[in-house]
């Protein structure tokens, strides 16, 4: 299934990642689905490398839920007004 990507703005405190700790500012969320395993990644808008959102991987019982999980994550992470 295709990856899903959305731009968002991190709220106060940023987003914790495995590789570089907290990232802040204008970011992009990407969720990937591989054999039912969903992973959430973020990167700085327009940057070259993606980082794993800490704790944000799970197995989906139904791959049709990918969009819904992506929307939930985006709703939690997106804080354009701070």
């Amino acid at each position: 299934m295709a990856d899903l990507s959305s731009a968002f703005v991190a709220g106060p405190g940023g987003v914790m990642t495995d590789e570089v700790g907290v990232v802040t500012g204008d970011l992009e969320l990407r969720t990937t689905l591989d054999n039912g395993e969903l992973r959430a990644l973020v990167r700085y808008e327009g940057a070259e490398e993606w980082y794993a959102v800490t704790g944000a991987s799970c197995r989906l019982a139904d791959e049709k839920d990918h969009e819904a999980v992506h929307a939930v994550l985006l709703g939690v992470l997106n804080r354009p007004e701070g």
Partner: protein
């Protein structure tokens, strides 16, 4: 607090054996207490204020094109030792390294949070001015060679061994967004941050400058 201390000292002086034991205890603690991590070239308060005043104030630039690969870090310093291992040895106490320069034992005091660790795996080397923050403050226009020098800067107060979780919580944030948990370290931290930005010609944003002025006001 000072009254309690005076009483304790007075009592000990009256009972000599107890005093000797106390003294021995203090000496023993003194021997095992790790030294404060002290990166070089931390400026005086007046110098830091002058350097802060000289920094260009600008809104942060874009993260477009950013990658940590553009800041090659932990380059070889000497022999088998890279920058990370060199800072671990500098900032730790009784650090023992193997033939590959990996720290196999030692103690590390993290001035950000006051914690002491006995495993190098619990310690990160913090880039005081984070790489992504540097990118947004001017380093995006540098050569990779200059970015490499910045990311491995042992001559200024840009690298320090601290508790890994604290380093992760800091991430890419400037002092307007993140400060060390120990307020007693804010003065030193602001001096280190300011010197690094000054040395490397990086800009500050207005919120960051205000935070640094406030932190330097605690010195």
């Amino acid at each position: 607090m000072s009254t309690v201390n005076k009483t304790a000292r007075f009592t000990a002086a009256l009972r000599l054996p107890a005093f000797s034991l106390l003294l021995a205890g203090v000496l023993a603690v003194g021997l095992v207490t790790p030294a404060q991590a002290t990166p070089p070239s931390i400026p005086s308060t007046s110098t830091a204020l002058a350097e802060l005043a000289a920094l260009r104030v600008a809104t942060e630039g874009s993260t477009s094109g950013y990658s940590r690969d553009l800041f090659p870090h932990w380059t070889t310093v000497s022999g088998a030792c890279n920058t990370r291992e060199t800072v671990l040895k500098r900032d730790g106490t009784n650090v023992v390294t193997d033939s590959a320069c990996a720290a196999t034992s030692g103690r590390w005091y993290s001035p950000y949070d006051g914690a002491t660790w006995s495993a190098a795996s619990d310690v990160d080397i913090d880039h005081v001015v984070p790489l992504a923050e540097a990118w947004r403050s001017g380093a995006s226009s540098w050569t990779t060679s200059r970015r490499q020098s910045f990311a491995n800067d042992l001559g200024g107060p840009q690298l320090i061994a601290v508790t890994d979780n604290v380093n992760q919580a800091k991430g890419d944030q400037d002092p307007a967004l993140w400060k060390p948990p120990l307020t007693s370290y804010w003065c030193t931290y602001a001096k280190m941050w300011t010197r690094s930005k000054y040395k490397w010609g990086l800009s500050v944003n207005s919120a960051e400058k205000t935070a640094l002025q406030s932190m330097l006001g605690r010195c």
